[in-house]
Symmetry: C2
DNA sequence: TAATTTATGTCAGGCGATGACAGATGACAA
DNA sequence: TTGTCATCTGTCATCGCCTGACATAAATTA
C-alpha cells in the first residue's frame, strides 16, 4: 500500500472520528461540515470527496454490514431456508464486530449514542437500509429461482430479517452500552424471531 | 368553514398536485421548490408554510396512514393479539383508500409511480415510517403492560407488521397500477404473513 | 529528472430551509 | 360600514449542504 493510499485512509478515519466527536459534543445539526473539515485541517470540499454527504458519517457502518451480510449469503448452502441464512449473516455481522479493533468498537458505540439522542438519524439509517433490503431481496429471489420483482415471499423474508436486525441493534437503547451487550442482545433477538415463525415458512 | 380555511385547503392541494405533476414530468431532484410554488402563484416561502420541507410532498399520505392505524389500534379489543390488531389496522388503511375520492386515489397512484422511478424516495418514505414504528411500539407495549423501552417483542411485532405493509405496497412494482390492484395485493400479503407466523407468537 | 496521474484548495453558484419584518387579507364586533 | 385584531403572505437576508470547474501541489511511474 503506497503512501498515497495510507494518507487517504488516515484522512478518512480522522474525518470520521472528528465528526463523531463533534456530533456528540454539540449535536448533529449544529455541527457544520466546515467545522468537521476544519478540525482535520482539510477543506470542506475535500470532506465531500471522502463522504458523499454529511449523512454518510453516521451511516458508514451500514456499508460494512451490508457487504458482510451479502458475502455470507453467497457462502451459505443453496438449499438452506433463506431466513435461516439471513440470521447466520446477522450473526456474522456481530461476530465481525466482536473481532473489530478497539477503535472501530469505540466508533460503533459513539454511533449508537448518537442515534439514541437523535431519532432523525435513525430514520436516515433506516432509509439506507431500504436499499440494502432491495439488494438482499434480489439475492433471496435468485436463490429461490423466482422473479425478484414479483416474489412477495422473498421480500417478506428480507423485511422480517431486517426488522430483527433493527430491533436487535436499537432496542433497548441502553445508555452506556458495551459492545459485548449489543452482541449478546442480538443473539436473544434472533432466537426470539426464530421462535415466532412457523417452521418451513420461508422455503 | 370560513373562507380563510377553504383558501388554505385549496392552496395546499394545489401545491400538492402541482408538485406531483412536476416530479413525474421532470424528476424529483430537478424540480425546485420555487418551480412548484411558482406554478401555483405563490412564493417559495409560502410553500414551506404548508409543507415542512420538499420531502413532505411524497410523504403526506404517510401521516394519514399512521393516524388511521393508531386510531384503529385504540379501538381493537385489548385482549386481541397485537399483531392481529395491526393487520386489522392495515386493512383499515386500505379500506379508507378504497373509499377515498377519485382525486385522492389519483394522487396516490401518482405517488406510487414516483416512488417506483426514484428509489431514494422510498428510503425517505421508510425513514418516516420509522417514527411511526416507534409510536406504534409504544402503543403495543402499553397494551401488553410492558416498558416500551425494553420490550423487544413489542418492537418485533411492529417491525414485522410494518414490513408487511411495505411489501404489500411496494411489491411487485406494477407499472400501471390501479387502486384496486394495490388493495387486493395488500390482502394477499397480509394472509401470507399470517400464515408465516406461529399462532400465539405475539401474545 | 521528466511525465503522468491523482488529490487538494479555491472559487462560484444552485438549492433547500429559516428568521424577521412589513403589508395584505379575512374574521369579527361595535 | 367601520375599525380592530388575528392571520396569511411576500420580500429580504442569511445559513448550510452540495457540486462543477479549474489551477496547484503532491505522489507515482518511467
Amino acid at each position: 500500500m503506497g503512501l498515497r493510499e495510507r494518507k487517504k485512509e488516515k484522512t478518512r478515519l480522522a474525518l470520521l472520528d472528528a465528526a463523531l466527536d463533534l456530533f456528540l459534543e454539540q449535536g448533529y445539526d449544529s455541527t457544520t461540515v466546515e467545522q468537521i473539515a476544519g478540525s482535520v485541517d482539510v477543506s470542506a470540499r475535500t470532506f465531500f470527496r471522502y463522504f458523499q454527504n454529511k449523512d454518510h458519517i453516521p451511516l458508514w457502518f451500514h456499508d460494512q454490514g451490508e457487504e458482510t451480510m451479502r458475502a455470507v449469503m453467497r457462502e451459505r448452502p443453496a438449499d438452506e431456508p433463506p431466513f435461516t441464512s439471513l440470521m447466520h449473516a446477522l450473526r456474522a455481522v456481530i461476530q465481525s464486530m466482536r473481532e473489530s479493533t478497539s477503535e472501530d468498537g469505540a466508533r460503533f458505540l459513539k454511533l449508537r449514542r448518537l442515534l439514541e439522542t437523535n431519532p432523525a438519524l435513525v430514520g436516515k439509517s433506516v432509509a439506507r437500509g431500504s436499499e440494502t433490503e432491495r439488494r438482499l431481496a434480489e439475492d433471496v429471489a435468485a436463490r429461490r429461482g423466482t422473479d425478484p420483482e414479483t416474489d412477495q415471499i422473498a421480500h417478506l423474508i428480507v423485511a422480517f430479517a431486517m426488522g430483527v436486525m433493527r430491533v436487535g441493534f436499537e432496542c433497548p437503547p441502553v445508555e452506556a452500552d458495551s459492545l459485548h451487550d449489543v452482541v449478546d442482545r442480538m443473539e436473544t433477538t434472533i432466537e426470539l424471531a426464530e421462535n415466532s415463525l412457523r417452521p418451513g415458512w420461508d422455503v
